[in-house]
Assembly symmetry: C2
């Protein structure tokens, strides 16, 4: 297939802005007169330092990160943050975890290695189809931090409020970062794997209140100390240079879309096109409760696993890629990240309607 | 500058085969009819699984990895292995470390967090200019492993023999992997950051004897368990997909060069061109003792820091990039990794001769 025949609904890694890819292709053999590919540059060279500073500066601007907070470019994915957070912030004490999906559940279990975990809320009782309300949170007075995952990629739910807690908020924003404005000052630590709204897999962005650094357990691996990474401006060792470069290119594109406010203005509109079909369908059922729905990951099912499979297969054949739900839950899922154009959403909507007519009995 | 006007002698990240970069540029917007960039592919998709299996299979073939050993594609750089190795293999006991440069020194210090370290050899007494001989190694009978760094990028030295030890060998091969044939069966664990002879920064290759997995300390972060990564075939979470793809392209190029044996046949010849100038010069002095010289990183100096700086600056202006020595030691360094063509070496040689004529007083 050609690129023009395809819309990619993958949950991550996922579609990137065409403009970013075109620039990367054009600069591949010679980055702006350096005679080198970005992949061949010493990370200590002025060429790369400029790429690094540019991406960091643009991210700071896009998310309006206050000077109290540091932006780190790390490796290992969000999964490594599941360990880094308690290693650095738990101090062997207690931490509150809200378990609203697979990844917050893994994070919660991982934290048990390093201290006492208190499950402050869980939506497991109804298949993670909802987000507990503020008054349902049971907050520990002694908690070192309160941990939650803002958007649950697998279940298609999102926190539509920021929890109010005495302890610093730690938030996994992997699948919604840069899709809506965030008051970063409200958070002790935000982290996000890059492979949804930012860059290719291999980069993890951490934004943390510098006051929280320096509390790591003595057995913390040197690469897993936020303090070390702040002191070395993410270059204790060679960072994932290519991903940082791609992040810069994505942020250039984001700016052309009016920044975070620009994509935020249309994200709900995009998701509503699909949710509207689901709500008016006799075939499709949404997986998440309406008030907890994610604009990034729309999850639905027909109720018949074979029909779900037929849907995904036919869609794939027509260039609507990666609509199968996560392997742990089945069903269907359309991820509508920033780089997913409204055109892709409309083509999917038309396909859904046609499929319903053909298959509803 | 154009790419043709440049030779890049960076110590890492460093020059990549032009063929690999051209392919990456051509496939950037549409990988072989998928309609997607490799950076946009779900790591669980058949498209990416094929890229992953292909790169792993080619690496297994290139290094003739026996079935007793597993190849892992990890993140975090060699520096994260400095922690992963003792976390997984030390079992709170003793390990032998040979300290022959900056990176083995950091690795040794890191291991102290997790057990008892015995320095089995050190060349610090003569500025890491040599490699201890087998008979100089003081090996602990109770050691869980013997650790060394095969090629010391900063000092320009290389182990020209494989230590004989009762305990499993653990070897940092970051800056020489794929440059010479290795009997992998002799090693318990080999690791290498990709950004010298393999791929862009962001990928770490680990090759380990499967029998050594499963001994990790209880506080080992889940992403840092070799056992977990073996069980998940490096995909516990999203791997650094782009780097793995680039590794595959580099291995295609390596095959066209006759594989590891092919590049091994000329690596010494390339290095000898520069060492020959040094040995016959009244201006340049080699930093490493002749018997310990690395073919990958040729280190030298004029003895005058200002003149070294002038050398690097003039070379840079003529397209001979990144000849400055590591910031911790100064001097000059020419890295001659696999993708450095003999032509680049000859242009450097001509520059060195001309510079000597102009500056030797």
């Amino acid at each position: 297939m050609t690129r023009e025949q395809v819309f990619n609904f993958a949950a991550g890694p996922s579609v990137l802005p065409r403009q970013a890819l075109e620039r990367a292709a054009a600069e591949m053999l010679n980055y702006r007169g350096s005679g080198m590919s970005v992949m061949e540059m010493s990370h200590r060279s002025p060429w790369f330092q400029e790429i690094f500073d540019d991406a960091k500066g643009k991210l700071k601007k896009a998310l309006d990160v206050p000077d109290s907070h540091e932006i780190l470019f790390l490796q290992g994915g969000a999964s490594l943050q599941f360990s880094m957070v308690p290693l650095n912030l738990m101090e062997g004490g207690t931490a509150d975890y809200a378990v609203t999906g697979n990844f917050s559940n893994i994070a919660m279990k991982e934290a048990k290695k390093y201290g006492t975990v208190h499950v402050a809320a869980s939506s497991q009782d109804d298949d993670f189809s909802y987000i507990p309300a503020q008054e349902q949170l049971t907050i520990s007075p002694e908690a070192k931090y309160f941990y939650y995952c803002a958007n649950n990629t697998i279940y298609g739910t999102a926190w539509n409020y920021v929890p109010e807690t005495a302890a610093p908020l730690v938030c996994d924003m992997s699948s919604e970062i840069l899709s809506r404005r965030v008051d970063v000052a409200k958070y002790g630590l935000i982290f996000a794997g890059a492979q949804k709204n930012m860059a290719p897999a291999g980069l993890t962005v951490v934004i943390l209140d510098k006051a929280l650094a320096g509390r790591e357990a003595p057995y913390t691996p040197l690469m897993l100390s936020y303090k070390t990474m702040i002191e070395k401006d993410s270059m204790y060792n060679t960072p994932p240079c290519w991903c940082i470069y791609m992040l810069g290119l994505t942020l250039d594109w984001l700016e052309s879309q009016g920044g975070v406010a620009g994509v935020e203005a249309i994200k709900h509109e995009k998701a509503a096109v699909i949710y509207d079909i689901i709500d008016n369908s006799r075939l499709y059922k949404g997986c998440a409760r309406p008030e907890a729905r994610s604009d990034m990951n729309v999850t639905f099912r027909t109720g018949d696993a074979d029909l779900d499979a037929a849907f995904a297969k036919q869609a794939q054949a027509q260039g609507l890629l990666n609509l199968k739900g996560h392997r742990s839950v089945g069903g269907l899922r359309a991820s509508l990240y920033n780089a997913q154009p409204m055109e892709g959403v409309q083509v999917l909507a038309a396909f859904m309607k046609k499929f319903e007519v053909e298959h509803h009995v």
